[in-house]
Amino acid sequence: MPAPLEEHKFKQLVNSKNYNIRALTKHYEIVDSENNQLMTFAISHKKGGKREIKQIYVKKFLELTKEVTDND
């Protein structure tokens, strides 16, 4: 099961699969090189805590990238 990731580590993971993170008004979206949206997500951070990406988003991202790759 994927664990929650710190923001920069999640960004590295996303980039390693040739996707990018774009900031929206309040949240974020993951897009491909042509700016097509794969999914959206929110960053959680408690007072004094690190900004982290909940594992449900990490899991969903891995699931979607596998699905899209398998379909190619």
Partner: protein, 138 residues
């Protein structure tokens, strides 16, 4: 804010230590929050962004649900069964799916008639042999 015409489920996640809001309609939209209301609010905000991207025609195309009567099945089967299916398919010029469907249909007819599995297995072998003979005679 988006008018919601679908059910949003909000549950506590032990793994993520927060509430998670999801729906069956938009599987890529997930809200998270320290309270149920917050998770739902984040869900709705992300849904807005998802719908905006959809309107702009910039959602990544996904495989989606298979057409009716066309399912994709993935399973682990013993090597000897796989060899048998491959061999039958090859002999009869069919694909593996045709062989599996035929076996399931036979199984269904036998279970409907409450016949036992040994009889079913024997008849499957007979059917395959018959096909082989037919193919040769053609």
């Amino acid at each position: 804010m988006t008018n919601i015409d679908h059910e949003i489920k909000v549950n506590w996640s032990e793994e993520d230590d927060c509430f998670i809001a999801i729906s069956e309609h938009y599987d890529t939209v997930i809200g998270v929050g320290d309270t149920k209301d917050e998770a739902k609010e984040v869900y709705l905000e992300l849904l807005n962004e998802h719908l905006k991207a959809q309107q702009e025609g910039r959602l990544i195309k996904r495989p989606g649900r298979p057409a009716k009567n066309n399912i994709k099945l993935s399973c682990n089967i013993p090597e000897n069964i796989k060899t048998f299916i491959d061999s039958e398919a090859s002999k009869r010029g069919l694909n593996q799916a045709d062989i599996i469907i035929e076996a399931i249909q036979l199984y269904q007819s036998y279970t409907n008639n409450q016949k036992n599995i040994e009889t079913f297995a024997q008849d499957i072998i007979k059917v395959f042999k018959n096909y082989e003979i037919k193919n040769i005679s053609i």
